[in-house]
């Protein structure tokens, strides 16, 4: 029966050689290679739950009054968008489960991409011939951040309104075109034209998912066409020989197992751990702001950056040239993107290494890159942590102003300290290994002489 099925399929598509090759594609066996897969599977859960949510969400700012199951909001005027999300949470069976799973999946998706990026960076997997794969992955991370931001912004609860106000402020702050850009996107001064809600909606549920999906397809095609990188084993450096487990049967159950593990984790989180309880925030009004509602973790670095910049606008002759949010909200992420994007080419120029690399470095093998990465990461991470200084004030009673000054100074000094320490540690580790190797070689020689 199987033989017949294969014959029918091959006669109609001629795909047998391709499928057989795919089944025997080799996956090097290392746990860190699964991080990208976690991101992929979180994306699958996102699409599945997201499609379900679109059947119930109404992207409309039309005014309505709430008369639903949730007692505290009874009779409160709100937008249809917010009303529909409260209904998803309370009226439709399993709606809350799907919504919370969607939200958790977004948080896990971004986290997985970032950890995957760190693995790629610190093992030098971005080197020739895989620069394009790296660049697409990096762009995907930034598009994903925008996608997540739009997702929680279109709900029109108090938290999303505050987030949008900040987005509006950052758009306005771009020198030269900020005013036009904000008027173009929002259609009117904040809170903008009602059509803005539809713009966010179509971007969130169609444009960006299609863009991300396409980029994932290209990313994976490139990975497969150049094959996976692998770690060298001991002193054997199979730069031209790939060692791995074939797709089928070896890799398939493992990979599917990971898919189901990720889905299980996300649905358990969605069912057991509350996230973004929008009914507690209430509907957004321009004149309202709450203290304590926190946006998703992956926006923390931008919030931190916006908070750390000292108070100044660049003003010339009574005309503002560069408003303050530009530094933290636009320039900072742009610098991070550009530095990471240029890394493969910068490293090639600095090291003069233009060869192909299929074998990964351990972090210690490239002290310069590892030290730079660690310092750069420290910079972004300190800015990220500073975004929670207000929480530290509330929970630990640490002086807020003092904390901000600490982070302002630490984020400028610590990266350099970390750079030098990391480089030193890497070099020492290398040296220790060389000594060991030499000893072993000497011992082997001695044994050979004895024999």
């Amino acid at each position: 029966m199987l033989r017949g099925l294969v014959r029918v399929l091959d006669q109609r598509s001629g795909a047998a050689p391709f499928i057989q090759k795919t089944l025997r594609y080799l996956f090097p066996d290392h746990w860190s290679f699964l991080l990208g897969e976690v991101a992929l599977y979180a994306f699958i859960v996102l699409v599945a739950t997201g499609v379900y949510l679109t059947f119930f969400f109404e992207p409309s700012l039309a005014r309505t009054t709430y008369h639903g199951a949730y007692e505290p909001l009874q009779g409160v005027p709100m937008s249809e968008a917010y009303r529909s999300v409260v209904d998803i949470s309370f009226k439709y069976k399993a709606g809350l489960l799907i919504r919370q799973t969607h939200h958790w999946a977004a948080d896990v998706f971004v986290a997985a991409i970032i950890v995957h990026l760190l693995r790629i960076f610190f093992t030098g997997a971005f080197r020739k011939p895989r620069e394009l794969t790296y660049l697409i992955g990096l762009l995907m991370l930034f598009i994903t951040l925008l996608e997540g931001y739009l997702g929680y912004s279109m709900v029109d609860d108090l938290l999303s309104g505050m987030g949008l106000a900040i987005g509006y402020g950052v758009a306005l702050s771009i020198p030269g075109i900020g005013g036009n850009l904000a008027m173009g996107i929002w259609g009117a001064p904040y809170p903008g034209d009602p059509a803005f809600e539809s713009r966010m909606y179509v971007t969130h549920v169609f444009i960006l998912p299609v863009v991300i999906g396409t980029m994932i397809a290209v990313h994976l095609t490139l990975v497969a066409s150049r094959h996976h990188t692998q770690f060298g084993r001991g002193r054997r450096r199979p730069e031209r020989r790939l060692i791995g487990v074939p797709t089928f049967p070896g890799q398939t159950p493992r990979s599917l197992g990971l898919l189901f593990s990720v889905a299980a984790l996300l649905f358990l989180l969605g069912g057991l751990v509350q996230i973004n309880p929008i009914w507690q925030w209430g509907p957004y009004e321009t004149a309202l702001g709450t203290n304590g509602a926190q946006p998703d973790w992956y926006l923390g670095w931008l919030i931190g950056a916006l908070r750390l910049v000292p108070h100044f606008d660049v003003v010339i002759g009574g005309r503002t040239i560069v408003p303050n949010p530009f530094w933290g909200g636009a320039l900072f992420p742009l610098i991070v993107l550009i530095v990471l994007a240029l890394t493969p080419w910068a490293e090639r120029r600095l090291t003069g290494d233009r060869r192909y690399h299929n074998v990964l470095d351990r972090p210690r093998d490239a002290p310069g890159r590892t030290a730079f990465g660690a310092g750069f990461l420290t910079w972004v991470f300190l800015v990220f942590v500073s975004g929670s200084a207000d929480r530290a004030y509330v929970f630990f009673n640490l002086d807020y102003v003092g904390q901000i000054w600490f982070y302002r100074i630490a984020s400028l000094v610590a990266p350099f300290v970390v750079f030098f320490i990391t480089r030193r540690v890497c070099r020492e580790l290398q040296r220790a290994e060389q000594v060991e190797e030499r000893q072993e070689a000497a011992e082997a020689e001695a044994r050979a002489v004895e024999a």
Binding site: G169, N180, A188, P189, R226, V245, G257, A264, T290, G318
Partner: protein, 330 residues
Amino acid sequence: MRRLWRFVVALIALVFGRRREDERPEREERIVEPAPRDPRAELAVVGLLLAATACGAAFVVFYAIDSLARHNWLLGLSLGLCLAFIAAALVTTGKRLVANEEIEEDYPEVEHPDEQEALVETIVESGDRLTRRGLLAGAATAAAGALGLAALTPVLSFGPWFRTRELDKTPWRRGRRLVDKEGRPFRATDVEAGTFYTAFPEGEKQDKIGSPVVVVRLDPAALKLPRRRARWAPQGIVAYSKICTHAGCAIALYRKPTFPVVEPRPALVCPCHYSTFDPSDGGKVIFGPAGRALPQLPLTIDAAGELRAGGNFSGPVGPSWWGVRSGRAS
């Protein structure tokens, strides 16, 4: 009865019995390495799949029964465990039941010099009889550019991209009364010290960024307003735009010292990035990232004792932008 019993036994044997050893002769060369034999793992996988079945069915039951469907955790737990058991079954299969041997092969060739050359020649030869190459390229570029421009033009309908003066507009005019959210006017005697109030222009949309103001009563002796604004704060009552000049959040925190000697002055604080403004000093920024003072609204008290705007704000409301002037709002 006996026949039934035999049937049941046969059925059990059929379902749970193990397959006899494969009688086909082993082929000389296999593609897939023989997997390890592990009947116990097979049973474990069956058990895990059955557990997944039970959890999946439980989800359907929980969903169907109204009193249970209200419990999000029941739905999440049943569906999550269903997925988790399937995951466990798959991982067990991968680890114990299929061949896991590593294979070696060559990396694919990085370059194909012959094909590269053929590709280049194909393109070059296809166009080598053209005489006006530059002109053709120019015309094609022009057409493509014009088409691209035409395709992009409708984006202009998004805006008004160029009416940025709209950004400076506020609904406040001289004589307009300050009202609360329900439209009730504020009387000067309603405004108590030590707290803050949100007011809107009477009869105007409250969600406009230029609408909301914060109103606080300060000690008139402690006021340090610029000379031009000396008459803007009757009885020490001051009003400022409620929208932060940094990134547009509503200024929802009022810092009121409980122990004035050791604690800092009263301040208006934005909860987004903690820009801190001094209401006694014309809305000056004393901490946080905001680059511009909070625009102040001049106040008057009318004959009925109600608060009215004495004019428009001291400056543009909302986040700063390229070209924003520190002059008056319109």
